[in-house]
């Protein structure tokens, strides 16, 4: 923003402001900025902040009040669902970041156009399938006498009946989150200068050493951000537990849905939801404190 406007002084329209030091500026006055942001604020406060606050208040004031939480923690089903959901989400987060990270790194360094195209296709295909179709495809894959069992049979192995188990749900969650993590980590890896690796190798480091001592430390904030996001999103998976877990696999989404629509017990469902949200927000808050707003924002794919 040079002194371009300084020589032109007379008869100018009022809209570009002059700063205190006499430079011209296109900065928007605050009251206009506030007016322009009003629609977004309305949506955010009306349909994000207010619902979450109301949910928390409802969970404490309707039904048995704080007893709603006791009911979730004391029922075997509630405890089992919470533990399974949190553990599965942690596992999914670790696997998604590892496999997605490897995939993104290979896309980053791959020099063959065709190979890179196939790797990109693998990242994008699950996005193209959409939520329900993805899970439908995995239902087919894991169904009794399905493709996976037939493949195992060909290899002379015993069939595994995975469908309607927690393992099936975890597989479905990993299938959704690996491309998500790959997408967000690709952006992180793009920001790392490849010549640093060459420099490390030139100084005598092995490939593995160059990656663990140069690339990984540089990528770590992005990896933490991506892992936290994958974990928070995984906690709320609904379609995957419903289709791949069936009635048996204990997940919070099924627990919550049962309490609202089968037992018509909104207070318990709201307490369970608040617990889930609290775990997610604590994780995201921790990530925010560790890596900062910008990194977390860039990690959302």
């Amino acid at each position: 923003m040079g002194p371009a406007g300084r020589s032109v002084t007379a008869n100018l329209p009022a809209s570009p402001r002059r700063e205190a030091d006499g430079r011209w500026s296109a900065i928007l006055p605050n009251r206009w900025a506030l007016l322009l942001v009003a629609p977004l604020l309305a949506v955010l406060f009306g349909f994000v902040v207010y619902p979450l606050v109301k949910l928390t208040i409802d969970s404490l004031t309707t039904g048995n009040g704080i007893g709603n939480y006791e009911a979730v923690f004391q029922s075997a089903a509630g405890r089992r669902a919470l533990i399974t959901t949190v553990l599965a989400s942690m596992l999914v987060s670790a696997l998604a970041v590892t496999l997605g990270g490897l995939l993104a790194w290979h896309i980053r360094i791959c020099r063959h156009r065709a190979v890179r195209a196939v790797l990109w296709l693998a990242v994008l295909a699950p996005f193209w399938m959409g939520t329900v179709v993805k899970n439908y495809a995995i239902v087919i894959l894991l169904s009794a006498e399905g493709p996976l069992d037939k493949l195992l049979e060909l290899l002379g192995l015993a069939p595994v009946s995975l469908l309607y188990t927690s393992t099936a749900v975890a597989i479905g969650m990993v299938y959704t989150m690996v491309p998500y993590a790959a997408f967000s980590l690709y952006g992180v890896f793009l920001g790392i200068d490849e010549s640093l690796l060459d420099a490390a190798r030139g100084l005598g480091a092995s490939r593995a050493r160059a990656i663990t001592s140069v690339m990984l430390p540089l990528a770590m904030p992005g990896i933490v951000a991506s892992g936290a996001l994958v974990f928070a999103i995984s906690l709320g998976f609904y379609v995957t537990p419903v289709l791949l877990g069936g009635a048996q696999a204990p997940f919070m989404a099924s627990f919550i849905q049962d309490y609202i629509f089968t037992f018509f017990d909104y207070p318990i469902a709201s307490a369970a939801s608040v617990i889930l949200l609290a775990v997610a927000l604590l994780t995201l808050g921790l990530a925010l404190a560790l890596v900062g707003r910008g990194r977390l924002q860039r990690a959302v794919a």
Partner: protein, 283 residues
């Protein structure tokens, strides 16, 4: 195949390295290439499987199919249920895409052209809808919708999906806006344009491809929405994801493979278009 050859300048040093390190390197490279190959296969297999099975001519689901043909696609066209589900989904997704642009685009000027305090927080706060656990969020929306009578209504579903589409629109357009130099507006204003004229003639015109890209992605996001519809939709409100979900819950109807394949093709085209538009905006 994935090995990266070091540039010539370091080749001499690399050659002098100890053989043990080279062996270790080769092992690490092979192991990571194998993991990537397996992941790639696992990610592609379900998509390929569904597309191939959509050409089965069996009336019941079986693997492998006994006959091949276009039976699933014919059934799909004959059954009015799928068409009306798609129609409802599209009728929800279109206003969601338009509204998300109307909500987000003005915000970009606040985020990128003002010094309003907390404007940076908006960037992350605006994304909340897609980073919190959706089944818990759906219960929160259920409580509010029950309170104000939006449960089971068309506009309720539009508003619910809007909360997921706004973050998508914000991600795409805010990235594009950060690449538009403010000097262009300043030059226009110094040359006599009003602020509004400068925005309309320069900033918004440069932003148009990204807004369109965001609109396409917002549309796809809404079309794909499968959780809110289960918590907030009423009887008779059967969107496409809901129809597929309910069908799969009660068994494997082979006609779903045909719908899934068409959806995959349509979504890949839409997302490809969006990526193309976003790239054009970047130039």
């Amino acid at each position: 195949m994935f090995a990266r050859t070091p540039p010539d300048t370091t080749a001499g040093v690399a050659a002098r390295r100890q053989p043990r390190a080279l062996l270790g390197d080769r092992f690490t490279a092979a192991a990571s290439a194998a993991a990537v190959a397996a992941t790639t296969f696992a990610l592609l297999a379900p998509a390929v499987l569904v597309a191939v099975l959509s050409f089965s001519n069996d009336s019941f689901f079986d693997f492998p199919p006994h006959a091949w043909g276009l039976r699933q696609y014919r059934t799909l066209l004959e059954d009015p249920r799928w068409g009306s589900a798609l129609w409802l989904s599209a009728r929800i997704a279109l206003p969601v895409a338009v509204l998300s642009a109307l909500v987000v685009v003005p915000t970009l000027f606040t985020i990128h052209r003002s010094r309003l305090p907390w404007r940076g927080v908006l960037q992350v706060g605006g994304l909340t809808g897609i980073i919190i656990p959706i089944s818990a969020y759906a219960v929160a929306m259920y409580g509010v919708f029950a309170q104000i009578g939006l449960l089971g209504t068309y506009w309720g579903l539009v508003l619910a999906n809007l909360t997921l589409a706004v973050p998508v629109m914000l991600l795409v357009t805010s990235a594009a806006m950060s690449r538009i130099p403010v000097e262009l507006e300043l030059a226009a204003m110094v040359a006599g344009a009003s602020r509004v004229q400068a925005w309309l003639a320069i900033t918004l015109r440069l932003l148009a491809p990204a807004i369109l890209a965001g609109g396409v992605l917002a549309f796809v996001t809404s079309l794909d929405e499968a959780v809110f519809i289960n918590f907030l939709g009423g009887p008779g409100q059967e969107t496409l994801p809901k129809a597929i979900l309910d069908s799969v819950r009660y068994g494997l109807d082979p006609v779903i493979t045909a719908i899934a394949t068409l959806l995959m093709v349509a979504t890949s085209l839409a997302m490809g278009l969006a990526a193309q538009l976003a790239r054009r905006g970047a130039r």
